[in-house]
């Protein structure tokens, strides 16, 4: 049951499971989703919204509002306690566990705490999504060096995470998230540990990916950041509930891509 009547056409349940998006460009649809950890009270309640392909979303809210929990649902680290989620046209509630990796490969994630693998070099950390996806070694080196050069770490290919500064680790994490050209990029406070110049550069990278069709969801406290991406849509969480006073999520402005 929908908590808020969504005017967007719901995709047909019988459609092909692995289409990237529905005919109307839907990439993610949450329907009355709730999440609780153990027997605690719900950290997310009655979330009903749709994310569309090729859009740029900011997720804001006070600390403890549930931003990270919502992102965990988006990058499939968590299943909801109730409600339904459809992602890339696939019903996640009934999706067998064995088919999760296929969906995860289509979502790039920048974790708040970077979560780089400590004993792997920057190169190997960034190469990991490509290796996991089964790319040949000869096809990995070039793209990984390119992306590391782009984030300004071409001289740190062999450096381990422990030898990198917080900002450098952040950039490696971002490079790892985008290397496989995901359909959706989910980033949890991606500019939290970098200076304003690098923050802007990273934002431009996200915008560039977005222009190429990647749906971007960025959780941030930084309100200045929101103003720097004028076409972005804002999702504001307030104590686990989605505040959408403008109806932007339910009535997204169409954009030609």
């Amino acid at each position: 049951m929908l908590a808020i009547a969504a005017p967007v056409a719901r995709s047909d349940q019988t459609q092909h499971r692995y289409t990237s998006m529905t005919a109307d460009g839907e990439i993610v649809h949450f329907d009355n989703v709730g999440l609780r950890y153990g027997t605690e009270r719900e950290v997310l309640s009655d979330l009903t919204f749709t994310l569309f392909a090729g859009r740029f979303y900011f997720l804001t809210g006070a600390s403890g509002a549930g931003k990270t929990s919502l992102l965990r649902l988006l990058y499939l680290a968590q299943r909801p306690s109730r409600g339904a989620i459809r992602m890339f046209g696939t019903d996640l509630i009934t999706l067998p566990r064995s088919r999760l990796p296929g969906l995860r490969r289509r979502t790039g994630v920048v974790f708040q705490d970077f979560r780089l693998i400590p004993h792997l070099s920057a190169f190997d950390n960034v190469a990991l999504p490509l290796r996991v996806a089964g790319h040949q070694e000869r096809d990995i080196g070039g793209p990984v060096r390119d992306i590391l050069e782009w984030v300004g770490l071409s001289d740190k290919l062999d450096a381990g995470p422990a030898t990198l500064s917080g900002g450098e680790q952040q950039r490696v994490a971002i490079a790892r998230a985008v290397i496989a050209r995901p359909a959706m990029l989910v980033a949890d406070e991606p500019t939290g540990n970098v200076d304003s110049e690098m923050a802007l550069k990273l934002l431009r990278l996200f915008e560039m990916l977005n222009r190429q069709g990647t749906t971007v969801v960025v959780a941030t406290h930084d309100l200045d950041l929101l103003r720097k991406v004028p076409d972005s849509l804002i999702m504001r969480l307030d104590r686990g509930r989605l505040a959408d006073p403008t109806g932007a999520l339910r009535y997204p402005p169409r954009r030609l891509t």
Binding site: Y75, S98, L100, P101, R104, R115, S121, V132, D158, A159
Partner: protein, 315 residues
């Protein structure tokens, strides 16, 4: 990072690059955190398994060789204190048995050989010293065409009953049966030991894999979130345990070989027929060489199943 560190890293690059290309994914979980004492545990297990297996195979060889020799053997003792009668009855018994259809051959044990049997206790020259020889029973070694069965023994007894009433018929297998039974029990024991050790090896690998999974939980979660499958993660563990098992197994087999060869030499020097016959043949050595290989396969399979089972509980 200092320039020296950078240069050191550059030096390592080739090796690491090779490892990445050659055994892709093996680096995902640090080998040291994964294996710990595991290669040594596997070495000990393999050594004990190979020794137990060698014992079982040697006993098996001894049993089959002895069986082949003794199964169709019948001993006839003519127990008569008077020399002339004993001599006559023995000769008559030989004549009577020769004609039986299931007899493959026979041999009357010469007097000199009989004297030789009691010589260690009584020495030589008894007749000269006491004026009379010791009345040792005459022995006839009969070899049947097949194993000695009760009807065949009865036929022999019937054939010699009239001509050699003081003769006693014994199937050699009957008096050696307790020895055979003991040897078979030992063989069963060694096979059980091999199975127990295989179980212990699997249990050790299971614990190691679980512990490694716990220690590397964060890394596994990241790999999952990047789209890694359970099979990919399991393959990393499986490969790492495989390397440990192969290394440990080789060391274990070398240790076992030293023990088996030195024990074999000691037993051979005993000069006891039954022990000598337990020498290992080339197929046995081949089986022993398979122990580390099978242990490696068992360890890899256990690691794979353990990891897959544990990962099923993660999202």
């Amino acid at each position: 990072m200092s320039e020296a560190d950078t240069l050191a890293d550059a030096g390592k690059w080739r090796v690491r690059d090779w490892r990445r290309l050659g055994v892709r994914g093996a680096e995902l979980i640090p080998q040291t955190r994964m294996s710990g004492p595991m290669p040594w545990v596997i070495a000990i297990m393999v050594a004990m398994t190979a020794i137990a297996l060698a014992a079982g195979l040697a006993l098996g060889n001894a049993i089959s060789l002895a069986r082949a020799e003794i199964e169709g053997g019948v001993t006839i003792q003519v127990i008569e204190p008077r020399d002339e009668i004993r001599e006559r009855e023995a000769a008559a018994a030989v004549d009577a048995i020769k004609r039986l259809p299931h007899v493959a051959g026979l041999r009357r044990v010469p007097q000199a050989e009989l004297d030789g049997l009691i010589e260690p206790w009584l020495g030589t020259g008894i007749a000269a010293a006491t004026g009379a020889a010791i009345p040792v029973p005459s022995l006839i070694d009969v070899r049947l065409k097949g194993p000695a069965t009760p009807p065949q023994l009865a036929a022999i007894e019937k054939a010699i009953a009239k001509v050699a009433p003081s003769a006693k018929v014994d199937a050699q297998s009957s008096w050696l049966r307790p020895v055979f039974d003991a040897m078979v029990s030992l063989q069963v024991l060694s096979i059980s030991l091999v199975l127990l050790l295989a179980g212990a090896l699997a249990a050790a690998v299971l614990l190691a894999a679980r512990s490694a999974l716990g220690a590397n939980r964060d890394i596994i979660e990241i790999v999952h979130l990047l789209g890694g499958t359970d099979t990919q993660v399991a393959r990393v563990f499986q490969r790492s345990i495989g390397f440990d098992a192969a290394g440990g197994g080789t060391v274990g087999l070398a240790l076992a070989m030293v023990v088996i060869l030195s024990l074999g030499r000691r037993f051979a020097s005993l000069g006891a027929g039954l022990v000598d016959s337990g020498a290992l043949v080339w197929t046995d050595w081949l089986l022993l060489a398979l122990v580390p290989l099978l242990s490696t396969l068992l360890a890899m399979l256990t690691a794979r199943l353990t990891v897959l089972h544990a990962l099923r509980k993660m999202l």
